[in-house]
């Protein structure tokens, strides 16, 4: 419960913007209560990020088990990103933490970097399987396609949140499906 409430605060306010007073108020714990569970603010922020990332993965990977082909899973992940927002308020914790810590907390940053690499690896592996199973062009670059999917989705999420409408995410979804069409063999 502490972690879930803290995750919402860190994701909305950033690491330095998340004040202990607000964390105490939202979790209903006194300072001593928080520090009985966590060694430091950094320790709590890392636990909050890891919680947010596990929530994000659950949304982005939802129902993909029921899709039998690698290309179908790639398309499903794109659709999930666009249609199933994170359960943790404040947008994508990966992007928020990447931006918030890029001149800041190195421990938190390492967790964000590991999350990015985990996501890229998952997508690359799907492209590799798609090529091996003959549904994607052997000339398709697994690393290139994974990178473009993540960049386009994350960039469009930033734009949609800033503009206050879903246009950029809808355009990203359409563009990424077309990009996958261009490397599909059938």
């Amino acid at each position: 419960m502490i972690i879930r409430k803290a995750a919402a605060i860190f994701n909305q306010r950033g690491y330095s913007g998340a004040r202990l007073s607000e964390l105490m108020e939202e979790t209903g714990l006194e300072k001593g209560g928080i520090y009985r569970h966590f060694d430091s603010k950094e320790d709590l922020a890392v636990a909050a990020f890891d919680y947010s990332w596990s929530e994000i993965k659950q949304r982005r990977l939802a129902m993909l088990d029921e899709i039998s082909t690698p290309l179908g899973k790639l398309r499903g992940m794109i659709d999930n990103f666009v249609t199933r927002p994170s359960a943790v308020p404040g947008g994508c914790a990966l992007m928020n933490t990447a931006i918030d810590t890029d001149d800041g907390n190195p421990v938190l940053r390492a967790h964000a970097r590991a999350a990015l690499h985990e996501w890229l690896h998952y997508l690359e592996e799907l492209v590799r399987q798609g090529i091996a199973q003959g549904e994607m062009d052997a000339k398709a670059s697994p690393a290139g396609i994974a990178s473009i999917i993540v960049a386009t989705l994350e960039g469009s999420l930033m734009m949609s949140r800033l503009s206050g409408n879903r246009t950029a995410m809808t355009q990203a979804r359409e563009h990424l499906h077309k990009t996958l069409d261009s490397v599909a063999t059938k």
Copy 2:
């Protein structure tokens, strides 16, 4: 001078993370000196963002006057984004401010939103000219292409900064040139 130094601090620390003590130290001004020029921290942050954005535009639009075709200018802007980093430390002020303020300062956020729309409008106008001059397919969507260029570049910049290497930006550049190839008439 105050604005230039403040821009670096706000861009690296975010709005709530930028402490008055650091702003005083970097600008060499006392609190009273800063507040003689600016009504509030928000007022200084807005001036800093506007300065950062004008620096960014200068880099992204560099040398584009010397390119005669709209499609060439679109390609030149993509190359500028990837090869000419902003003069203000801390990454892209537009993305940083979008992420930093999405649950925070509404005035600063309005400036970031205006900057995004200005950039999108510039790109859309180039696509429209490219279609009018027959170098781009009449079926190309000006708003769609502009949106994909911004999303892919900004998302890849976040990834490159988080990963500590230029791979994602290089892949974004290659992908966007291919995307433009697909709507070029020759």
